[in-house]
């Protein structure tokens, strides 16, 4: 059969033969080219490691109140970052607090991301009245300031780790729904989707096998950029007394508890504040880098 097509072998002479690198190695070689991406990645890795092994590496029990040692300044009696108003080691509490931030960031992004993505997909793929209704809801929610919304919800449903995650997720899903919907809309119009229809692939399979895999990139980018927002929002809400409640050491409530000491014992709010800044910075740097490498088009959202 092939014999009737004499050229077929020849065409190959120029085929590009790139060394096929594994995905991880391309990831790292890309990363190593951007110092800011690298920094972000290192911060995130550090954060995750800390949140995993935190309980085993804290020099002191983060919950144990040693009253006689309260408000020690940094670098005294083995307390690297000093102690708080109950004599608890701030360094240990920051280490443990990392876990809360990671849990909140990740859990919120998972819930908000999953829910928002599903809504976005439904809206974008099936269109129709459902789309109109859902997008109106999104519009409505977007017409209310995020932090205020989170605050109101949290005040209403009550404080605590679980509730702050819920309220952040309720506040956050719309962004995902918006972005994913527009991605789906764009994908729907792509020729390769038309090509699938032409092949006879069923709608369900098109959705699952062709649209969803192409959404991973925007989801990951968006998620990485949102985490920073959530971490800061959690801290803000905790600061106002609604979020994660003591004694759970979360950075936001460390700040909230320490804010009365700002004039006398600066270290109480300085270090948890720095922890938040560094985390948000790391996540943002990494997210920016991801966006720039994976999808130069998504800028500005």
């Amino acid at each position: 059969m092939a014999s009737s097509l004499p050229e077929s072998g020849q065409v190959l002479t120029n085929v590009v033969k790139p060394k096929r690198k594994s995905k991880t190695s391309t990831f790292f070689s890309n990363l190593s080219r951007s110092w800011s991406g690298m920094l972000g990645f290192l911060i995130i890795t550090l954060l995750i490691v800390i949140s995993l092994v935190g309980p085993w590496i804290t020099p002191f029990d983060p919950l144990y109140a040693e009253f006689s040692k309260k408000l020690l300044p940094p670098m005294t009696e083995g307390h690297l970052l000093g102690t708080d108003q109950l004599g608890r080691d701030i360094f240990s509490r920051i280490l443990i607090g990392a876990r809360v931030s990671v849990i909140i960031g990740v859990a919120t992004v998972l819930i908000a991301g999953l829910f928002g993505t599903i809504i976005g997909i439904i809206s974008g793929f099936f269109r129709g009245w459902l789309d109109v209704v859902l997008m109106r809801i999104v519009d409505v929610q977007l017409s209310f300031p995020f932090i205020l919304l989170v605050l109101v919800i949290n005040a209403i449903i009550g404080a605590g780790l679980k509730n702050i995650i819920i309220s952040l997720a309720i506040g956050g899903w719309v962004i995902f729904a918006r972005v994913i919907r527009s991605e789906v809309l764009a994908l729907r119009e792509k020729e390769f989707i038309t090509s699938c229809v032409a092949t006879g692939v069923s709608r369900f399979e098109i959705l699952i096998k062709h649209i969803v895999p192409n959404l991973f990139t925007p989801i990951i980018i968006l998620a990485s950029l949102q985490i920073g927002t959530y971490v800061i929002a959690e801290a803000s809400v905790s600061f106002l007394g609604f979020g994660v409640q003591p004694p759970t050491p979360a950075w936001g409530n460390m700040l909230s508890e320490g804010k009365d000491y700002i004039l006398s014992s600066w270290w109480l709010i300085t270090f948890p504040g720095l922890a938040i800044v560094i985390t948000a910075l790391g996540v943002n740097l990494f997210g920016d880098w991801l966006r720039d490498t994976l999808d130069p088009e998504l800028k500005g959202e």
Partner: protein
């Protein structure tokens, strides 16, 4: 006639000259809700408007005893009837005269449902107010109401009926008129309240001519404002900042033992170990109040051993459980609990009382030492209160009570079945409480309350903690004596 006021009255007074300062700015954590009297049950509102309105009876700033204010004297005619004799020759800021009508009007204001006064809930037993003569009123209650005088002293402020009727309550709530030491000048919501001395004040023209309350919700901002000289006085310094203020130039700290008490409630409404007297005793032994007081409150507070504080009129000395970990463990074991596997919940508000959530964490650490695991749950105040009232609390919680000047209102509201605030209930004790409450003989009453106090300690009804210490940051040269009733009266202040 005024002695010193006339000569200072000029245009310059409002600003206050450099040398003879005659104005004062008080930092406050939040605004008054309304400026009308007898409506909002709230310390911040009351503390401020008490400079504008006067009560019939007030408390002595040092002892908390009742002293005459607008009323000259009061007597108990029978169990249901009270008669008050009012002072004469007192005028309101608008020139109107104070008399029995104003007193009746003010009480009726509370009682009139249309006004939606939240005080009415405590005045429900008052049946009617009668003007006997221009300076005499009689109050009739529907059932014996021994704490009426306390209500009159703590709740009731006198308004000018003519003014309120003329401008309406809404306007009166914005521009109040009273007989108080200060006249209203300007109110900017959430910003400041400005008052000026009332020249014709019935006692004496106040020395401080201009009184301003400024609202600063964050402590650190309040502190900055104080350190930078923008405010001269504020209440509730966190104990850890006391030293700093003491050391700051031109500043001092004033302290007073308040009538407000803090305690650790052991919830017998909840199906759990706290229903067992032995466990409650064990907790009493395990909690080291002295340590908490010393290390968390830096000693600011007065330790209590029973249900009432020393300042309470019905106080009797009770035995102190003291701190004894071994005994605590023993008692727990007797009660059938292995301390190591006992897990308790401790609820606390955050920022309502001095170091409250920290105290809770401190108690948790102390119980940890005998092996008991305590999960501290910090609640937003509204939720905390709701949980108590809905009886949804679990094992233990922290709460404060005040003003706790007299035995009846404290004990009745804390240790009966209908009152959830200690969440301790014992049928026999309750019976005693009701019996004692109904007594009119002062001595019998005191004896009754003394017995109840001992019973409550016996049954380990709660873990008494302390009387709160009220701490004030004060300008060095400001004459200011903190009051046991937490009020801040410009009238009693002066610059040295």
């Amino acid at each position: 006639e005024g002695t010193s006021s006339q000569d200072t009255e000029s245009d310059g007074t409002t600003d206050g000259s450099e040398d003879t300062k005659d104005s004062i700015v008080i930092g406050f954590e939040s605004d008054a809700v309304t400026l009308i009297a007898n409506n909002d049950v709230n310390y911040t509102t009351d503390a401020q408007i008490r400079n504008i309105y006067d009560p019939l009876i007030e408390r002595d700033g040092n002892t908390g005893e009742f002293v005459p204010a607008l009323a000259e004297k009061w007597e108990n005619i029978d169990e249901l009837t009270w008669r008050l004799k009012l002072k004469e020759g007192i005028t309101f800021h608008n020139g109107a005269e104070f008399n029995a009508e104003s007193a009746k009007f003010s009480i009726d204001y509370i009682l009139d449902e249309a006004n939606q006064s939240y005080y009415r809930s405590r005045w429900a037993n008052v049946e009617q107010v009668e003007v006997l003569s221009p300076y005499e009123v009689e109050i009739t209650t529907s059932e014996p109401f021994p704490s009426l005088i306390q209500r009159i002293a703590d709740d009731l402020l006198i308004m000018e009926p003519g003014y309120v009727n003329e401008v309406g309550t809404e306007q009166a709530a914005k521009e109040p008129v009273g007989t108080g030491a200060y006249k209203f000048v300007e109110w900017s919501r959430d910003n400041y309240l400005k008052l000026e001395a009332f020249e014709d004040y019935y006692k004496e023209t106040p020395e401080i001519k201009n009184l301003e309350f400024r609202y600063i919700p964050e402590f650190s901002s309040r502190m900055s404002a104080f350190l930078s000289g923008e405010i001269d006085l504020f209440k509730n310094i966190p104990v850890d900042s006391v030293e700093e203020i003491k050391n700051a130039e031109n500043s001092k700290v004033e302290e007073v033992s308040s009538s407000r008490i803090n305690y650790l409630a052991l919830n017998t409404f909840h199906d759990g170990p706290m229903q067992d007297e032995k466990v409650r005793e064990a907790i009493n032994y395990a909690v080291n109040v002295d340590e908490l007081l010393e290390s968390i409150l830096n000693g600011f507070g007065t330790k209590m051993t029973g249900p009432l504080s020393k300042i309470n009129s019905g106080y009797t000395e009770t035995e102190d459980y003291g701190h004894d970990s071994e005994k605590a463990v023993e008692l727990l074991k007797e009660a059938g609990y292995d301390p190591e596997s006992l897990e308790l919940t401790l609820d606390t508000p955050n920022g309502r009382y001095p170091m409250d959530s920290h105290i809770a964490q401190g108690i948790a650490s102390q119980l940890q030492k005998i092996g008991v695991t305590v999960n501290v749950q910090v609640n937003e105040w509204g939720n905390h209160l709701e949980k108590i009232q809905n009886r949804e609390m679990q094992d233990m919680y922290i709460l404060g009570w005040g003003p706790a000047f007299d035995a009846q209102s404290t004990i009745e509201n804390l240790f009966t079945e209908v009152a959830p605030y200690s969440s301790f209930y014992n049928e026999e004790i309750e019976e005693k409480i009701y019996k004692t409450n109904a007594l009119f003989n002062q001595e019998e009453r005191l004896a009754g309350y003394a017995e109840i106090q001992r019973d409550l300690v016996d049954k380990a009804a709660w873990v008494p903690l302390w009387q709160q210490a009220d701490l004030y940051a004060v300008r060095e040269n400001l004459e200011f004596n903190p009051r046991v009733d937490e009020k801040m009266q410009g009238y009693y202040m002066s610059w040295e």
